[in-house]
């Protein structure tokens, strides 16, 4: 009988999942070492060779599947590199020598050789070239998994059994691939509320708990797990009573979810008759369906940078245009805010020259609009693609991380150039396409005049605004407890931004995480916000909260919150607001 225990982390996506663990592992961590007799050497070498051969076939099969399916471009080239690494003598020959010389098992020989190679890569000064060790590592790992009898491909979950993915950490590329496997929940050692695991788990509407520190080491493959994203907890090997209790909770949660669905077409209006716009944040054109299912009135934020992931080259204008047009048409005349690339910082992308180097402080470095302005060709391509899509729906352009009037001017000049070039070619677009700016930097709020004069609308990205105001990286779990949306400085900035925009008659929305947090709905309403944009999974919950809110009761508490500067008192007032 396996011992039952609980793990705590951060629940970044709500709901309850019950299923078997599937570990996504770095196989190297678990390699056994044993010696073999002289007679067994030939046999061990043969075993190694057949593992290499199997991986060869595996890569070739993948390659065929990729070139025929609808896989992001140039994925094939990536596989070619892997195929060549696999056939490189340093990987396919050197371990055989080690087996013969040290009389050790093939796994151990390969692990040693990989360690040697990784060590050499680690000495490379150029960070981009150094990171190529990942390719060598991945290829070696594939062979290792073959040797250990566990092929690298994720097995498909049995239909009647739910599978929960347990990993140390997931990269954006991993996560996009996992979108197509039907995991019931995600569990990672690292990560925070805004990590990629979190974002994707929410978009798939499956529970996720991150920052568990050592889940990956403590949980064994196939163990029964309960993941409770609402309460930040994971129960490993639950006994029958606990299991029964959670199955009940799971049903209740599902029932509540069904009930919410009935609110889909109901207008979002407070008890005292204030209308509120509830829009969706999406990442891929495919997310549109979920947005519509949850009654989104528009797309408040279409994060275009995901077009860049899982591929080596840059997306062409036509490719971008198709993606944007799909969303514009899909919304049938309702607004779609396409945000220009917010590349940089956490969304590091190989293949983009300006991002090849690792910036000393990426969050404060060349990212978002700064990057776009530094790469005018790339920016122009995107602006042209967005403009062309504007012919097919109500498209608006949203520019991330603006900080100064001159950045706004440069952006508008680029847009004018893009329009000019389209005119010359006779391509149709909406000449009055509105241009909005993201308010993410405290400076933008404190010097908002230029923004209000030059832009058609504003959208507050609270995640970055809070990060920059408090100088706290929420993905860093040594300081993430300091991240506080209720900090008096944050409230002051929000109040200034919303109030300032209203006074100037410029529409303003909030599209950060805060907009989708139930506990914050009334606070934001009280600060004057009438336009929320959030992950589609939160739309109906927030709508329900709006329907149950009365500004006449909210306002007196808000006035007290605006004056308060004691964190404990602010938490108390927020609770009062939500009861």
């Amino acid at each position: 009988m396996n011992v039952s225990f609980a793990l705590h982390g951060i629940g970044v996506s709500g709901g309850i999942a019950i299923g078997r663990a599937q570990l996504v592992s770095h196989a190297m961590l678990e390699v056994a070492h044993y010696t073999i007799s002289g007679k067994q050497v030939a046999e061990e070498i043969a075993r190694f060779e057949s593992a290499v051969h199997e991986v060869q076939l595996e890569l070739e099969t993948l390659h065929t599947a990729m070139t025929s399916g609808d896989v992001p471009g140039e994925f094939g080239a990536f596989l070619d590199v892997h195929w060549m690494i696999l056939n490189d003598p340093t990987l396919s020959e050197a371990p055989k020598k080690i087996i013969a010389e040290q009389r050790c098992n093939a796994e151990w020989a390969l692990t040693q050789q990989m360690g040697l190679l990784v060590e050499q890569f680690d000495q490379i000064e150029d960070p981009y070239l150094r990171e190529r060790k990942a390719d060598v590592f991945q290829v070696g790992e594939r062979v290792l998994k073959r040797l250990m009898g566990r092929p690298g491909a994720l097995r498909a979950a049995a239909a009647e059994e739910q599978t929960i993915l347990v990993a140390h950490d997931l990269s954006p590329a991993d996560v996009i691939q996992f979108k197509h496997h039907h995991f019931a929940a995600f569990l990672t050692d690292l990560g925070g509320v805004t990590s990629h695991t979190a974002i994707v788990a929410r978009s798939l509407n499956v529970p996720a708990v991150v920052a568990t520190h050592n889940a990956r080491a403590l949980i064994r493959d196939g163990e029964m797990l309960i993941v409770d994203g609402n309460h930040h907890v994971v129960i490993v090997n639950p006994d029958r009573a606990v299991l029964a209790e959670y199955r009940l909770k799971q049903n209740e949660f599902e029932l509540a979810r069904q009930k919410l669905k009935r609110l889909r077409t109901k207008p979002a209006q407070t008890i005292d008759g204030i209308h509120v716009a509830l829009n969706a944040n999406i990442e891929l054109p495919e997310d549109l369906e979920q947005a519509l299912e949850n009654g989104a009135m528009g797309i408040g934020l279409f994060r275009s940078e995901f077009l860049y992931l899982n591929r080596e080259g840059l997306p062409s204008e036509d490719e971008q245009f198709e993606a944007y047009r799909r969303v514009a048409e899909g919304m049938e005349g309702r607004p779609v805010n396409i945000r220009t690339f917010d590349l940089g910082a956490d969304k590091h992308k190989e293949g983009l020259e300006g991002l090849a180097r690792v910036a000393p402080n990426p969050a404060l470095g060349l990212r978002a609009v700064r990057f776009s302005l530094a790469e005018p060709r790339l920016f122009l391509t995107q602006l042209r693609a967005i403009l062309r899509a504007s012919h097919y729906g109500k498209v608006r352009i949203l520019v991330p991380m603006l900080m100064s009037a001159s950045e706004i001017d440069q952006t508008l000049a680029m847009l004018a150039r893009a329009k000019e070039s389209l005119r010359e070619q006779g391509l149709p677009f909406d000449p009055h396409v509105p241009v909005g700016g993201m308010i993410e930097i405290p400076a933008a709020v404190l010097a908002m005049g230029a923004f209000l004069r030059k832009l058609d609308f504003l959208s507050v990205g609270t995640n970055d605004l809070i990060q920059y105001t408090l100088a706290v990286d929420r993905a860093d779990d040594t300081v993430s407890h300091l991240y506080d949306p209720l900090h008096p400085a944050v409230l002051k900035l929000l109040s200034l931004a919303i109030g300032g925009a209203h006074k100037a008659n410029v529409p303003i929305a909030v599209c950060g995480e805060m907009a989708g947090e139930l506990a914050m709905t009334r606070l934001l309403l009280g600060l004057g916000l009438r336009d929320f944009s959030m992950h589609p999974a939160h739309l109906l919950n927030v709508k329900q909260r709006v329907l149950q809110s009365d500004l006449r009761q909210v306002m007196p508490v808000i006035d007290r919150m605006k004056r308060a500067d004691d964190p404990v008192r602010l938490i108390g007032l927020l609770e009062k607001l939500n009861t």
Binding site: D88, T90, F121, D126, L129
Partner: protein, 88 residues
């Protein structure tokens, strides 16, 4: 023996795909091709060895081709460097 020195001006240096192309090309010839960067030498038939040269932007790659079809190999390699690796 044929010898040429080529500066790397691609911001990514000899990136993975470029390494793959070099190795693929060099493997088509019978002569031995070596690449030398900052005094370190690698066989152009091993992608891992070429990757480990870590030829970043601003470095110089010395190509040495030695064998029966060295002339043809060198011409092809120089073309490849020109086409793929001196810009973008």
């Amino acid at each position: 023996m044929q010898i040429r020195e080529i500066p790397v001006t691609n911001p990514h240096g000899l990136h993975a795909r470029a390494c793959a192309r070099i190795v693929e090309l060099a493997s088509r010839f019978r002569c031995n091709v070596s690449l030398i960067v900052a005094g370190r030498r690698a066989s152009a038939r091993s992608i891992v060895a070429v990757m480990l040269l870590a030829a970043a932007m601003g470095s110089t790659v010395r190509i040495e081709a030695d064998g029966p079809d060295e002339q043809a190999a060198m011409t092809a390699l120089v073309q490849l460097f020109d086409r793929e690796l001196t810009q973008h």
